[in-house]
Symmetry: C2
Subunit: 329 residues, 2 copies
């Protein structure tokens, strides 16, 4: 089989990525050595970078537009988790040999869709060819009023613990894709897979929690792990009640069919929801923010003196999460 030739890197940028940066002042048309970004006075630049590798973080056969959109979204989730508003991004793409022009066009199309959807500007990047797997590094930028960023390390004992959306759907979707779980209901199966393939970063909710949340992270490694990071960096412990963790109807049905799944859902990653803490008196403000962002928020536990994350069952007994659970070190 002969593969259609791929244009040179300079032409790929010109044809597929430069148009995504059209009209973006900071990008300088992607022809300069670097991008130049203006920040409003009194604001700070928030910046994060994440790498996705074919065969490690996504499947080689995944639709290229979905790969592009997930790559952008997981980084926007990090920006939102700081309470910042995403503004811009840079894309370093190392194209594998199988990435032909049709692949690149579809990838750029998906990226363009989501750049518009989240009002984020592509301001720079680097396009290379790799003999290895397709490797994507996205650097996302956001803006936050000076001092208003929401860190992980600032939770205090007495705070309540909250989480947005529902937990565990992405872990179930991954199991379905891996053939390790059968979901009979086609709509439920599609929803779970979609939650894995195309997370919804909480870019609306995150900034609304400035001045309200005491600490925040996004749920990328799993609820227990990410809440564990908050606890560890804050020097506190966290206690959550399993019965208050929000499940989607599809996840609830899956757990009903196989109760052993519950622990893996608490530990499973890729939800890209926000987990955060706040003093109890901010409960009404949190409800208002959730309404304004049209994202459900659930109170699931509390911050305590101590360390680690403890999950309680309906009778208040600590659950033994075993290997699936986060082991605090």
């Amino acid at each position: 089989m002969t593969r259609p030739p791929r244009p040179a890197e300079f032409d790929i940028i010109r044809r597929y990525f430069a148009p995504l940066a059209a009209g973006v002042d900071a990008a300088l048309g992607l022809v300069d050595d670097a991008a130049v970004i203006a920040l409003p006075d009194g604001h700070r630049q928030v910046i994060t970078t994440d790498t996705l590798i074919e065969g490690v973080h996504f499947f080689a056969a995944d639709p290229p537009d979905q790969i592009a959109r997930k790559m952008l979204r997981v980084n926007l989730s990090d920006i939102a988790a700081m309470g910042a508003t995403p503004t811009a991004c840079l894309l370093a793409i190392s194209l594998a040999e199988h990435c032909d022009e049709a692949w690149i066009a579809a990838f750029a199309g998906g990226l363009g869709d989501d750049l518009r959807r989240f009002a984020v500007a592509l301001v720079g990047g680097d396009t290379t060819a790799t003999p290895g797997p397709l490797t994507l590094t996205l650097t996302a930028l956001g803006v936050v009023p000076a001092g208003a960023e929401i860190r992980r390390s600032t939770a205090v004992a007495g705070d309540h613990v909250y989480v947005s959306g529902t937990i565990g759907d992405a872990a179930l979707g991954l199991r379905v894709l891996e053939g390790r779980l059968v979901i009979g209901d086609p709509a439920a199966r599609a929803m779970l897979v979609e939650r894995y393939r195309l997370p919804e970063p909480r870019t609306g909710l995150g900034p609304l929690l400035r001045g309200i949340a005491s600490a925040m992270a996004d749920v990328s490694d799993g609820l227990i792990a990410d809440l564990g990071h908050i606890a560890e960096t804050s020097g506190v412990g966290a206690v959550i009640e399993a019965a208050r963790v929000p499940w989607s109807p599809a996840a609830r049905a899956a757990v009903a069919a196989d109760p052993a799944l519950a622990a893996s859902l608490l530990a499973g990653g890729d939800d890209y929801e926000l987990v955060f803490t706040a003093p109890p008196e901010r409960d009404a403000a949190i409800a208002a923010a959730a309404t304004a962002a049209a994202v459900p928020v659930s109170a699931i536990g509390r911050i305590v003196a101590g360390s680690g994350v403890t999950v309680l069952d309906a009778l208040g007994r600590p659950l033994a999460l075993g290997a699936a659970g986060y082991q605090h070190r």
Copy 2:
């Protein structure tokens, strides 16, 4: 042979990369979802990203500390080429299977040395494992007073063309490493290889050219190609005199031994010098900046109406650069 086990990603960050970010406020200890960077009022954020792939951009057997330092330096060169002062960076490192703990320690050591040398803070990143080649994406940040950045697209006919340092040494060094060139003099050979392996980004000179240079780029793709980018984006042509292009004594000796090398040196990349344009009346200011930065600067030609880059020989005749030369499209 059994390979010593590599620590988990979280431990790699904690042991080797978090210490490099120690004392850097913006990094938030590398424990948060994103870094937060303060900019002085009235300044803009300059940002660039570059990917280096083992076997493509460097040799697998290169010393890890040199790989780290070159990675940082090529990005700092991009920041300097905007007339900006480098301030911070993020590192996305995808570790190949052969990168054991000793490799990581040496890499982090080299990176730390150069972070201190160039007064640049590591503020974030991502550490992953790849089944493919070691892949490094560094994102570098700099700061520039609003409106003072030096772009590529702003050269005008009548400007003179300047270049810092010497040209072609890195291309010769690469030939030596590839076994395609024999340099008898050990000191000359070592200098050429060093210029390829460890470029010296012109971070001192770049910011001193604000308000002086009309357009600037760094010489990464080769003098003719990068001056060609300035010409193309500015809608002008460039004429350079081959005899005025600065050569190191080692390069001069190599060209004397094989005159055919001259064209490849003009086209060869990886010098990471600055090529820039300025109105003729700024000549004295440029000399002062060169003295202040302790970097030689040479006037090598002029900007003209038209397009493309023309190289003239000592008699003023256009040189036919052939396949080695940049073909303006």
